[in-house]
Point group: C2
Chain length 490, copies 2
């Protein structure tokens, strides 16, 4: 029977470690997309790498994802599918959509090197098919390219030439995330990184000068200590599965029914980094997906709150809509469709009401008298002219909603499948160096993926999290490897 080690310490001092069980130039904590990328890159930089994972194998939340990666600037897939893109257009879109206070340095670097990152992924064995899927959140076929953000919606379509940048890994069905991680774990194994699974890292170790020197883990009921000569890379996921942390930092996210995460997303990586002096920033923000756009014709309906009023352009991306619905409307919204626009939504969604007249629909939904009638009269009058003066929905998506019966799909948090994961985390440089509250480096500590605050603090486009995790994971691994070389040399 496993010995009970009790609650782990927040931080350990090196002189409390009687014996190191193993050591390496770079110790990577977590074997999802970020950890795999960090390990591969650190190995490529010549470092001896130890990769520690709490589960029985690699994968993490990346493996559970839809395998979509936000890439652009002119990837071979974009070109093959006839789309023109540039790093500048990609950068302009991300700066405009990820604000306020998006990490400009990270966005500029990522946009500039996105094509190179595509080639790196391919070199690791990640398959992409040169095919365009179209607008939509993910690809249930084995197709690749789609619009996975708000590029075609106002104001973005005026700020940056739109291009589809969602690159889904080639794999039929919704197993593309699994395929991505099969490729990355195979590449990690080939790289020569030493991998230890069933190793739950709980505490960082710092030396007398407060440099991170290693990590203490729980293995088979006993404590195991791993020394890092160059640095520790925390790539241990976010905190959506830690109820106390979500309530403390981002209480509204608790209302979302579907938490996109694995057991590892309990915030342990973030907490380990904080205990070693790292600052966690933008802890209030999350990716909030409101899946109401399949089939696509549903965006021709209108989203209204409990006052019967529209609050957003329905053709903004489902994460932007989800964020507004949850944070501004408290997750109390409905999609109104007429008989011409209505279609059975995927995922299945409850119908709150169906009525022959808008007045009856309004009454059944207990909206204030006249509120929805007024909203629809205003919307329909302008839609008939191809205009949406309130929110500038694209003319292609504007059609008067006048054919009875009228339906209201229930997109309240109580009924609909709001999907959420956290976007806040450790503050890092583009090189993955963890910063303290004063903005200074925590020596020897690196982080990547959802353990960090990444490219998007809001206005999320699908695929940004895996893009961020793998792109900045590589840089963190490389930086930790460089520090190991320097330490050995010096």
């Amino acid at each position: 029977m496993a010995r009970d080690l009790g609650k782990p310490a927040a931080l350990r001092s090196a002189d409390s470690i009687a014996r190191w069980d193993d050591e390496a130039d770079v110790v990577v904590v977590g074997y999802g997309g970020a950890g795999a990328a960090a390990a591969i890159a650190a190995r490529a930089a010549g470092a001896d790498v130890l990769l520690l994972e709490r589960a029985g194998g690699g994968g993490g939340t990346t493996a559970l994802s839809t395998g979509q990666i936000y890439l652009g600037g002119g990837t071979p897939i974009q070109t093959a599918c006839g789309f023109e893109d540039s790093p500048e257009a990609m950068c302009a879109y991300l700066l405009a959509s990820c604000g306020p206070s998006a990490d400009e340095a990270k966005i500029r670097l990522f946009a500039a090197e996105s094509v190179a990152h595509f080639h790196w992924l391919v070199a690791q064995g990640v398959p992409f098919k040169a095919s365009y899927y179209g607008e939509g959140s993910y690809t249930p076929t084995d197709d690749c390219l789609s619009y996975s953000g708000s590029e075609l919606a106002w104001p973005y379509r005026e700020l940056a030439r739109p291009a589809p940048r969602g690159h889904t890994v080639q794999q039929a069905g919704i197993e593309a995330g699994g395929m991505l991680m099969r490729a990355l774990t195979a590449a990690t194994e080939r790289s020569g990184a030493r991998i230890r699974t069933d190793t739950l890292c709980e505490t960082l170790v710092v030396d007398g000068a407060r440099r991170v020197a290693g990590v203490v883990a729980r293995v088979d009921g006993r404590e195991a200590c791993y020394r890092a000569r160059g640095g520790v890379v925390l790539a241990a996921g976010g905190f959506i599965n830690n109820k106390a942390m979500v309530e403390r930092y981002a209480p509204l996210l608790r209302k979302c029914r579907f938490r996109a995460g694995c057991d590892g997303d309990d915030g342990r990586g973030i907490r380990m980094g904080m205990a070693a002096g790292g600052a966690a920033i933008r802890m209030d923000v999350g990716c909030i997906v409101l899946p109401f756009t399949v089939p696509k014709q549903l965006v021709k309906g209108i989203l209204v709150n409990r006052r019967g009023a529209r609050f957003i352009a329905e053709d903004l991306y489902q994460t932007v809509v989800g964020e507004a619905a949850l944070l501004r409307e408290n997750g109390e919204v409905f999609l109104i469709a007429d008989n011409a626009v209505f279609a059975r939504p995927f995922p299945e969604t409850e119908i709150a009401a169906v009525e022959e007249t808008v007045a009856d629909l309004e009454r059944t939904l207990a909206f204030p008298d006249g509120s929805l009638q007024q909203t629809m009269a205003f919307y329909n009058a302008h839609a008939a002219r191809g205009e949406d003066p309130l929110f500038r929905k694209h003319p292609d998506n504007l059609v008067p909603l006048v054919h009875p019966p009228f339906a209201a799909l229930d997109y309240t948090t109580a009924k609909a499948l709001y999907t959420v994961f956290t976007l806040g985390g450790l503050h890092t440089t583009p090189e993955g160096v963890v910063l303290n509250p004063d903005g200074d480096p925590v020596s020897g500590l690196y982080a990547a993926g959802r353990t960090t605050s990444g490219l998007a603090a809001q206005g999320y486009s699908s695929g940004l999290s895996i893009a961020d995790a793998t792109f900045f994971g590589r840089r963190a691994g490389r930086a930790a490897a460089a520090r190991a070389r320097h330490s050995v040399g010096g």
Copy 2:
């Protein structure tokens, strides 16, 4: 000439301190309302107290405030003015208004002991006049009691019996905050606390077991070290005057023109606590005052966004309105008044447009065609019946806006005086013990006031910050004193 000590370390180890310049049972950092209360309480508990302040004297941001303190449950002032209140009603209001994820333990304790805290303040020499001022944000006379929150607004008026709980310290003009701090600094001096001003605390000192053992300060260009036998109480204000921190944690607050804070509100106290292992929570939230309610008749107007739509009940408290205007409407709102309701606002506010018809007003404001006309037609029709089906503004505040000319007051962040301070900070127990990211105590570290996350994370009522600072400052001082006794005894 002062020696340049460079950037302070994030944290110091006790063995790096060659010599302690002074020591005490309890070291309090910061001499505003929270620090004074902590020092007085620690002295009353028998501790030797050293109070360190960066400025030339006590006061802090409390001294710059309007001197309003949120107190209730049946204070002598409430009773003398004929208002019935109970700890239960006060608690119900605070739990409902400060959510989501308000600190229930702190709220329950504060409501239960609020009358006792009133008597403590009086015992320190803080003067209150037994007079009712009425609704309004502060008292420019020397009167005391007023509604300083949303107690009379829906839904609060239905959830808890309303009572005015804003207690302004007796002092004519807007100097009541100064009067409060004159009383508290005099009481602190009488208490026998040893006070050192011009002492800028920058770094906490921890011993080998990671217990907080003291603080390093900058005094006249040299380093000074102060040992704390029992504990350090961080009462050093918030971070509204640290631009980098605001952008990192709460970027929208940057849009507010008036930052309610002193130089000390640079987040140093929070950063010191984080470096020692404390967790800072709810760092995204602030108190956002939109002063549009003086004279009171202006709430009979309607607030609209750039789409010409209402977004809130105008008789909710100005902080609740400010929060919604900034966070939900991006600080782009206007108050529409007709000639009957219009009055010159205080503070002075730009008039964006005056027109004889609503249609012209709409056009001048560049609102979508028909949007404001529709909003006002709907509002007026219901107001004529004393109803506001959208937001349930109180019938007393409902009157059709039909008398030309019509004016729009400019309450955009670019033009209006949004006033802001931060509400996020170190996570503490009701005893003031700072908690780490795992929710465990940081040994020897206490905090109070805006260095902490306090009673209100949102839905702020005026006077809560000083109430929180003084009430929980007392508890933090007492707890640190108790730990000193325990340390000496053991």
